[in-house]
């Protein structure tokens, strides 16, 4: 249930944004799951439903979840590569799930072997839009 902590951050950030924008009603929030962190959608959605009770501002908010493929760019050789095909053990995948930056410890550029790559897309959890009534 480590997803719970991130779900809480999403619901809190959405409610805070609605407050800043002076929304009368918070309707919909777009949540992006980066492929690298491999968040469990079912657990995350369950956590959001539980957390909704603590955040009345999000009582009617729909959370639309989309997935974003991970994309990497090597700083050493400029090679661009996806997550698919990179070797990692089950434990290593779990560590990357908790802290995506551990990718630099366990993954390498498939072309030159460098751990010095940029996570250009699909790192972790982010919010892509927040809709509400003013």
């Amino acid at each position: 249930m480590h997803e719970w902590a991130l779900a809480e951050s999403v619901i809190k950030a959405a409610v805070e944004h609605a407050g800043n924008e002076k929304f009368k009603k918070l309707n919909e929030t777009g949540v992006v799951f980066g492929e690298l962190q491999a968040i469990d959608k079912e657990i995350f959605t369950f956590a959001l439903e539980e957390l909704r009770k603590q955040f009345p501002g999000a009582a009617a908010c729909k959370f639309k979840i989309t997935k974003q493929p991970a994309a990497f760019r090597c700083k050493a050789c400029s090679h661009e590569f996806p997550l698919k095909g990179l070797k990692k053990t089950k434990d290593e995948a779990e560590f990357i799930h908790f802290v995506p930056e551990m990718a630099h410890t366990f993954l390498k550029c498939p072309k030159c072997g460098s751990p010095d790559f940029e996570i250009a897309a699909g790192r972790g959890v982010s919010i892509s839009y927040i809709k509400g009534d003013k």
């Binding site: 480590h2 950030a13 995506p100 930056e101 410890t105 982010s126």
Partner: protein, 234 residues
């Protein structure tokens, strides 16, 4: 919009932490980690609920100093740090299998924000942060997210460490970050100008590393223990 939701929840994670002590020093090898670990042990021994967070990702060493083995956080609405000698302990080594963590600055920042957002410290009297050397992403993020952090600055009698220390203190003053005081480590004894506490060079310290009970019995810990009151930590 590309909004990072994680910072919104960091205050929530730290709301029941009464004091945050950032053990800093802008030079490497001056004893920040041993000071941070011994400080956490001394506070826990006094009965304070204490946490220790090793933020030196590249040179994480608190697990070695405290002899942590076979520990891993518990997944419970985030991550609950495991208990080590009564201290709630968090370190990047739990996730790196003791391998190198080659991170650029922006990655360090991302990893710190992630860990601050998911770590459930619960109720603490003190959270000791073992800072990496220098003023970099970790230090700037602590000032950004842990706004109640108080600095405990470590230095040595060396001209080099003292000069860099003076610059750091000037910056903290400008940023209105409270500085508890300066600890002069590896001292030859006597009073150190501008330092609230002096820790003498302790030849027995190396042998006590990895054994918390032995570490508490060192002259190093005795000197640091005497400094708690003048530093306002007891």
């Amino acid at each position: 919009m590309n909004l990072d939701p994680r910072p919104s929840v960091i205050d929530e994670r730290l709301k029941n932490v009464r004091r945050i002590i950032a053990v800093t020093g802008w030079k490497g090898g001056i004893g920040k980690s041993v000071t941070a670990c011994a400080l956490a042990l001394l506070l826990a021994k006094k009965g304070y609920k204490t946490g220790l967070f090793d933020l030196d990702f590249a040179g994480a060493s608190d697990h070695l100093i405290l002899g942590a083995k076979g520990l891993f956080p518990k997944e419970e609405k985030g991550l609950e740090p495991p208990l080590l000698e009564g201290i709630k302990f968090m370190s990047v080594v739990f996730f790196s299998e003791n391998k190198a963590v080659p991170l650029r600055g922006a990655n360090v920042s991302d990893a710190i924000i992630e860990l601050l957002a998911i770590t459930q410290w619960g109720d603490l009297d003190f959270l000791v942060l073992d800072m990496p050397p220098g003023i970099n992403d970790a230090a700037l993020d602590v000032m950004r997210f842990a706004r109640k952090a108080e600095v405990l600055a470590v230095t040595t009698p060396s001209l080099i460490a003292r000069d860099v220390l003076a610059r750091s203190l000037e910056l903290y003053r400008g940023l209105k970050v409270p500085v508890l005081g300066v600890v002069e480590n590896m001292s030859e004894g006597g009073k150190a100008k501008g330092a609230a506490a002096v820790i003498r060079r302790d030849s027995g310290l190396e042998k006590a590393l990895g054994r918390p009970a032995a570490l508490l019995k060192t002259a190093f810990s005795a000197d640091l223990g005497r400094a708690l009151k003048p530093l306002g930590l007891s």
